[in-house]
Subunit: 317 residues, 2 copies
DNA sequence: TTCAAGACTGCAAACAGTTGCACTAAACCT
DNA sequence: AGGTTTAGTGCAACTGTTTGCAGTCTTGAA
């Protein structure tokens, strides 16, 4: 049925251990036998059984990737890059989705634990306690969360936020609203801390809000009442909802209010206005995370973000 | 180090086979011993090793999902739904990306073969021959490709295309262009076949084109020269690129030309014009594919599509 | 010529589970 | 009471591969 190492051994007149070695330690076997085994294996269509291999070596050559929501446009480029990096080193990638539920994180890591050599956790929402507990079960690297002891890949959203607010300040805005994200989000805290440090602008924090278009839409009233001329939104989805909501209140962007988003996930070129936003190096983060995982290095890296100025920001009138 | 079935057996005074059974065939063990074993296992933090289990049973409880491009917005909802369906039955999901390379499909399936109980292939580009060869290695279900012998999930894009052209006809368009997709795409063929059958409109086929914004942009000139008032594009990306390209040529949508896309992937509500498009049941397809795979039923299913009329279509002037 | 060092290869014991079979004891029939 | 079923458990072989150890055969050096 399925062809095993024994079939190859029999057909090529050597012991199974020799076959095993031609695959996992080629230099240990004579060149002649090696090629013989290899051709026989090829003929028979033999492929090593990774599960069996994992049993003895303890290494599965699988990685896990856990994100909050696969369908959130922020993640697919990250997943894609992670996959490419994994594939390049002959690893396979489990992808899982917590559906924004912190409890699912822990459960998924547990479930993965015996089947992967490591997992990358994107923007985890679990408590530090819980994460430390998980770290004992399986090596992991976190993206967008500071966690001592664990390898970490950060996208320097704080820097991006500062650039955004400075951009608004440069245009002449003096009062700026920060439409923040969900409570307890590391990213949201970073953004706020950075935005507050820009001199010359008064910051009104509005939130917490759901990190969705709906969340942004719902915040429109409070933004209007805050008497600001510029807004930094927690992410692009929020920015889009907000612009929509402001429109319903008779305020247009950027004429009446300037809005800048974060993430640069809005594709297509049909958007009016095109969103000024902070671009996040998601692909680089995904790639780097799996590289760190595979090489088992524990480092904390911070990736550059940059401001992309488009049409949703202008000088106040 | 890692706690095995034997540790649990020793600690609870039973044989390993009993421990094994309390997990994989609970009804075969006495209620009292079962709870004892369970509590001991809990205390010790035992979790069955799936790789080892797979070795004897041949079932891994893993599934593979192969798509052309994870970052193409068409796929993430499908992946998410597939993941949810898998998770619900305690399966894990490998996700892989062929980067639009047909050869990668075969290689990935091969690589998965021993590690999954089945794989779902989205819109495969490999030849029928190649696919049949793969079918011998591992059970699979295909999405958006007709393949006899294999379980199949189709999204009835033909029906959607017909609705789209009928919609244009209903608005008064008499000459309509079909900006088609890549050569050899099953979807593209379906669309064309359906579109041609709508009475009262003359169809000009323009293509093949790359299924990207760039592809649509590049087709703008030929669309103008075709002397049409309406266009059905292979997908939304192409539609967006096309609208952009038409704009550069001084043609506005929908005033001068009506455009309808396919897929309904354009998120956000900022688009001007908002795209009239054919919505595809991607989530349902992902869910269904996984269900078919797990239940090992070989059926061919066709999922409904529907037309979403928005602002990129209007009566010709 | 003898001995030590390599280079290959075989042997067999893991790895962490599952499962057909055999066994015991209790429950059920007649 | 004797025989038969049934429930529960243990035994041991098996899954496909890796790997430490030991053996054989060359080689090279002294």
């Amino acid at each position: 049925m399925t062809v095993t190492i024994r079939d190859v051994a029999r057909a090529s007149g050597v012991h199974v251990s020799t076959v095993s070695r031609t695959f996992s330690a080629p230099h240990m076997v004579n060149a002649a036998t090696r090629t013989r085994v290899l051709t026989v294996a090829e003929e028979l269509g033999y492929r090593p059984n990774r599960a069996a291999r994992a049993l003895t070596t303890g290494r599965t050559h699988n990685l896990g990737l856990i994100v909050a929501d696969i369908a959130n446009p922020f993640f697919p480029p990250l997943i894609k890059a992670a996959h490419a990096a994994a594939r390049q080193r002959d690893y396979h990638l489990f992808v899982a989705d917590t559906d924004e539920e912190p409890a699912a994180e822990e459960e998924l890591v547990q479930a993965f634990s015996k089947q992967v050599d490591g997992v990358v956790l994107c923007s985890p929402r679990s408590s530090n306690k819980a994460l430390e507990r998980l770290a004992e079960r399986v090596p992991f690297v976190v993206i967008n969360r500071r966690l001592r002891g664990a390898a970490t890949v950060l996208m320097d959203v704080g820097h991006g936020a500062r650039l955004a607010v400075e951009h608004l300040a440069g245009l002449g805005h003096r009062r700026v609203a920060l439409v923040s994200g969900p409570a307890g989000s590391w990213t949201s805290a970073e953004i706020r801390a950075a935005a507050e440090q820009v001199p010359g602008v008064e910051l009104a924090v509005i939130g917490p809000n759901a990190p969705t278009e709906r969340g942004g839409f719902a915040a429109a009233g409070r933004v209007r009442d805050a008497g600001v001329t510029g807004v930094l939104a927690y992410n692009d989805l929020v920015a889009i909802g907000l612009i929509e909501g402001l429109g319903d209140l008779g305020l247009s962007v950027p004429a009446d209010v300037s809005v800048v988003g974060i993430d640069d996930i809005v594709p297509g070129r049909l958007n009016r206005p095109k969103l000024t936003t902070v671009a996040m190096p998601t692909a680089a983060a995904g790639r780097l995370a799996v590289d760190l995982l595979i090489q088992e290095v524990s480092a904390t890296t911070s990736l550059e973000t940059r401001l992309v100025v488009r049409d949703s920001t202008a000088a106040p009138r």
